[in-house]
């Protein structure tokens, strides 16, 4: 019984169950739809919905397993009393939200990178209508923005590791 519960995802966190339900729904409706309508486009779309949702659910399950969240831990976390006790312990510091986020690298500094990348993508996308000119024009902000973006992300990663070395190893392991 316990094994069946595990297979059906009953012991998974709520968010995993959420995607499992959508996956089950998509696949169920795809099967029903096929036998009612014999129509391939809709069946593929519904099946795709089910499979895509199943991929998200599988990713959540694997992430939980990889981070050592096994069944007992999941059950323990599901217990509201324990959650409340954890919240009590953290209420003085409010779970870290009073920590200076910028210093931890958790909120990026203002940056032109998103605008530059967006502008680049938009100009490149105009290629089918206006030819090579907007594509050539768009590559410049796109590359500049991407370099800026990746550089800032690397700096923030380094700063995070400096403040909390375990964060880096955790990220690398994942």
């Amino acid at each position: 019984m316990r094994r069946l519960r595990g297979l059906l995802g009953f012991d998974e966190p709520q968010e995993t169950k959420f995607f499992l339900v959508i996956a089950g729904w998509g696949i169920f409706v795809a099967i029903v739809y096929w036998f009612v309508a014999y129509e391939p486009a809709g069946t593929v779309l519904l099946g795709g919905l089910g499979l895509a949702s199943a991929v998200v659910a599988a990713r959540l399950v694997i992430a939980a397993r990889a981070s050592g969240v096994h069944q007992e831990a999941a059950e323990r976390r599901a217990s509201q009393e324990v959650q409340d006790a954890e919240a009590d312990l953290s209420s003085a510091g409010t779970g870290g939200v009073d920590t200076p986020f910028a210093a931890m690298g958790r909120i990026p500094d203002p940056s032109l990178a998103p605008l530059a990348v967006g502008l680049g993508v938009a100009l490149i996308a105009l290629g089918p209508v206006f030819g090579i000119a907007p594509v050539a024009l768009g590559v410049v902000p796109f590359v500049w923005g991407a370099v800026l973006w990746l550089g800032a992300a690397r700096d923030e990663f380094d700063a995070t590791v400096e403040l909390d070395p375990s964060a880096g190893t955790d990220t690398i392991r994942r």
Partner: protein
């Protein structure tokens, strides 16, 4: 309490560069909301042009081609340049606040989503500068009408590219919303303590994640048909035009819920506050939201009944079934108000208006779910009236309600109650006057998407009533603009929780500091601010009893 006190560190008025470079979810939310409202005004002007053209028979303002461009751009703007980004704007601003997070999970990606949306919108609108004008294919872009043979303007290509960019932006945004809800909740906030608005945004994001890629793919296929000689949808070359309808509506029907679900969330936030009661059946509302999201993927072909190639029983039954979870929500909203201590400040007026208008849209939708009736009403003004009942009731009324409700949090200022009531009254009357006659026009068989109609006295009167209503809607928007301008001329003066509300965004200052919270109250239910207020009141009462502080 520290969490409820107002602090003086209101965000300083930033310059242009700050807005261009910001990755702060609050600024990005404001950018979304402002852009969406500007597009709303533009889309509204196009609607006025449509109604003026139809005020009397004959062609007055434009020809048939220009009229096609008018309704194409009106539909596109209202669905994808207003409703979708308005929901995204509210979600951007309030989702992290409601779950006690400092920002979105991917702040830079969030900014990229906004810029891609804005640039995509500008690409769509740049069709006005194209030779031949903007797209003229309807917001549904049906083929073969949208193929190069029938729509020669480059505006249609720009429409396709802009829509694809906006679709891409929405997908990135949905990934961000989902990740934020799943990973950034404050301690104690289990999924069944997440505020209803955030739950609705989560389900909306899942709908976007699974439906917008289908649209983006279809748009690229159509662009390939038009520009690179592909034949995906060209029947003469072996393509399948019905495939476009499948792909479009597999996106299009969930899109209706993409724009409506967040506003269901807004209503679920407003009604309990002004009823002084917790939301009736919190978990039922969540399950109903999930059911609506799931069902929305199984009803797409009720838009295709008249093609004759879809399963009528399957989609008809599915359409009837989707009314059930929506009915559950209605029941819960009404049950929340039942025997509550109701007060009708402006946000509550809009919420009640939403119930009234959206209910009409829901009922007329169920009627259209019956294939024999749909065959009669398809492409008539009955459908126009129904979809406006759903979309204006479901988004615009709730959007204005959200603005009056959350404006103090957004800016630290409150919108004028007096102007808000005038605004609401004009919109309620204007809406009914505009769209009720259209049901009769549809029942009489007046087709939509035509610039002219026969000189039948009944049709003329009904069309003139509709045009008068549309003008009232336009004039009725002015008090809202005036209220915003007047409010922004004053310094921020609102406390953290002016409405005595429930969810976590009211635990921080108005407007919130850069990192959103100094402290967060303990989260023991889906109403942590209410709990904190009650705890503070109990502590005060105990102190009075103990004689530590003087009684009232």
């Amino acid at each position: 309490m520290a969490v409820l006190e107002r602090t003086a560190d209101a965000i300083p008025q930033p310059g242009l560069l700050v807005w261009l470079t910001s990755v702060d979810h609050k600024r990005i939310g404001k950018l979304y909301l402002t852009s969406a409202f500007v597009f709303f005004l533009f889309g509204g002007m196009l609607a006025q042009s449509i109604r003026l053209e139809l005020a009397v028979p004959g062609l007055q303002l434009t020809d048939a081609e220009g009229y096609a461009q008018l309704f194409t751009m009106h539909g596109t703007i209202m669905m994808l340049l207003f409703a979708t980004p308005a929901a995204a704007g509210l979600a951007n601003y309030f989702l992290p606040l409601q779950i006690g997070a400092a920002d979105m999970a991917f702040p830079r990606l969030n900014a990229l989503s906004f810029w891609l949306f804005l640039l995509g919108a500008l690409v769509v609108l740049s069709g006005y500068a194209a030779v031949g004008g903007p797209a003229d294919i309807g917001w549904t872009g049906y083929v073969p009408n949208a193929e190069k043979t029938y729509s020669t303007t480059a505006g249609t290509d720009l429409w396709l590219i802009g829509m694809a960019l906006m679709g891409f932006a929405s997908i990135l945004g949905s990934v961000n919303f989902i990740t934020t809800v799943l990973t950034s909740r404050a301690p104690g906030m289990s999924m069944f303590r997440v505020p209803i608005f955030t739950w609705n945004v989560l389900v909306m994001s899942v709908l976007i994640l699974f439906s917008f890629p289908v649209l983006t793919g279809a748009l690229i296929m159509l662009l390939a048909d038009r520009r690179f000689g592909a034949t995906f949808f060209m029947p003469a070359e072996g393509g399948d035009p019905i495939l476009w309808q499948h792909l479009f509506w597999f996106f299009g029907h969930p899109e209706v819920y993409v724009v409506i679900l967040p506003f269901f969330g807004v209503i679920s936030e407003i009604i309990p506050v002004f009823s002084r009661k917790p939301l009736f059946g919190y978990r039922f509302v969540i399950f109903a939201t999930i059911l609506i999201g799931a069902y929305s993927f199984s009803v797409w072909a009720h838009h295709m009944f008249v093609t004759g190639v879809v399963s009528l029983p399957f989609f008809s039954i599915a359409t009837f079934i989707i009314a059930v979870p929506t009915g559950i929500k209605f029941f819960n909203w009404v049950a929340t108000m039942w025997r509550g201590r109701l007060s009708f400040e402006t946000p509550m007026l809009w919420a009640v208006g939403f119930l009234f208008i959206f209910l009409f849209g829901g009922i007329t939708g169920v009627i259209l779910g019956s294939p024999p009736i749909d065959f009669a009403f398809h492409d008539t003004y009955y459908v126009v009236a129904h979809l406006h009942n759903v979309l204006i009731g479901g988004t615009v009324f709730a959007f204005f309600g959200a603005m009056y409700f959350w404006f103090p949090k957004l800016t630290g200022r409150r919108l004028s109650e007096r102007l808000g009531r005038i605004h609401f009254g004009a919109w309620l009357a204007g809406f009914v006057l505009t769209f009720l006659p259209q049901y009769q026009l549809g029942a009489d068989g007046m087709p939509r998407r035509y610039a002219d109609y026969p000189n039948d006295p009944t049709w003329v009167v009904l069309n003139q009533l509709s045009t008068a209503g549309a003008l009232l809607l336009a004039v009725g928007t002015l008090p809202f603009i005036a209220a915003v301008v007047l409010a922004l001329r004053h310094p921020p003066d609102q406390p953290a929780d002016p409405w005595e509300a429930n969810s976590l965004e009211w635990a921080t200052t108005s407007p919130p500091p850069e990192h959103n919270f100094r402290t967060i109250p303990p989260i023991r239910s889906e109403r942590p601010v209410f709990d904190a207020r009650m705890a503070a009141a109990a502590a005060r009462a105990a102190a009075v009893d103990d004689g530590e502080i003087p009684g009232p």
